[in-house]
Amino acid sequence: MSDSFGRGLWASWAGFITLLLIWQIISMTRLINPSIFPGPMGVVNAALHDVPLNRLLQHVGISLLRVGLGFSIGTAAGVIIGVASGWYRQLGSILRTPIELIRPIPPLAWIPLAIIWLGLGESSKVLIIFLGAFFPVVTNTYKGMVNIDPNIIRAAQILGLRGRRLLLRVVVPASLPDIATGMRVGWSYSFGCMVAAELIAANSGLGYLIMNARQMGQIAVIVYGVILIGVINLLTDFVIQEVIIKRKLRWQFSGAS
């Protein structure tokens, strides 16, 4: 394993650097107008000069705040409704009907309606982000609640657990893996919704930054923004994956380290 792992590590760096080199070479040949197709150096240049750091941080901050807010509310609502629907099946049947009917509509399709309802302010964007998180979370939570190993429930009942204690101390923890999956999917949807909503209807945030750059013809800034969004997305997903899921749900992963 040591030998092929070493080669593999070398290969991953090689792949990445090769791509960068190809990009740099293509831009240097000036086959395409450099103001439309900037090379890596052009992007770095734009990053350093065209977007002052404090302005950038402001936009990033606003974007993250929006996603954070929408995601939190969406997750909270999703978990509560999911758990309730799974625990009280009659209620679940009734609650799930409108949810399942609305779910096929992509959150982004709500943008015009959200604007009509809430104007161009923060709340309309947070609504879209909320929708992005809500549906995966509520679906996965419900699925988790419904698909619990019945043996676990019987074992808990034999040990004397009933009612709310059964729910909170056994049923919900047993559904946590599914809830976590829903949250992870919900986060990536929320993030995508944030970018789209900011592109289409905002005057602050990362999406706006990119749209603005296009109007000003600063292609390099667009590329910078796109890459930045990708990096932030990766980082936040990594944080959720590693910290929350691996730590809190260590029991879910069986076997050797």
Binding site: M1, S2, D3, F5
Partner: protein
Amino acid sequence: MSFRNSDIEVVVRHVSKQFPGEDPDVGLALHNVNFTVSTNEFVTIVGRSGCGKSTMLNIIAGLLTPTEGEVLINGRLIDGPGLDRGMVFQYSGLFPWLTAIENIEFGPRNVGKSKAERRALAQGLIELVHLKGFENKYPRELSGGMQQRVAIARAMAMDPEILLMDEPFGSLDQLTREDMQRELLRIWESRKKTVLFVTHGIIEAIYLSDRILVFNPNPGFVRKEFVVDLPRPRQKSSPDFMRYYEEIYEAIH
């Protein structure tokens, strides 16, 4: 029944297998394994889980190469998998996208047999394993025992000299397993083959084999060899059978 030297088909000589990159104390699966198998003999390798018996079988199959030592079949060094050896796996390994008969035809199709030839050959094998009527079922529609019967037929479609079986009945329930043991003996007696069988069930080994090799775990090597000198069909409750059982149990522990 004894086997003469000139009938020796498989020779395993000084075979060791070290899995790369692992801690040498852990990755040494086999160390200096030596044994032979004669033509049409039924030999079983018995041992606890993890004693290297599957690794040994895979080396003989040609799917793994030994770190040291060699395996000879009919006097020739093996070089990868070959049509002289067929294999049956624990979890049938049947291709789920093919029906039972298509699975059996898979091998002949690879070597270019015509459609009619393949079909006739496969049909004959279906009847041999008593699965007539189930030719066009997909594996998921068949029970565990039926799947293993198809797996056996599939391995025999290439008419190999040697049949390698890696805990083929391990995933079946007890009753089906006992049925399959009888089935296997019946098939073996009608189409004589050399069989190398791997299991961790002592009773199964005694019931089926001419000879039993007890493998020692970590690293694997042949700890003791037993010749089962009982006429078939064997009674699992007979005193002779029980005697073998106790001796082999001792040898394993």
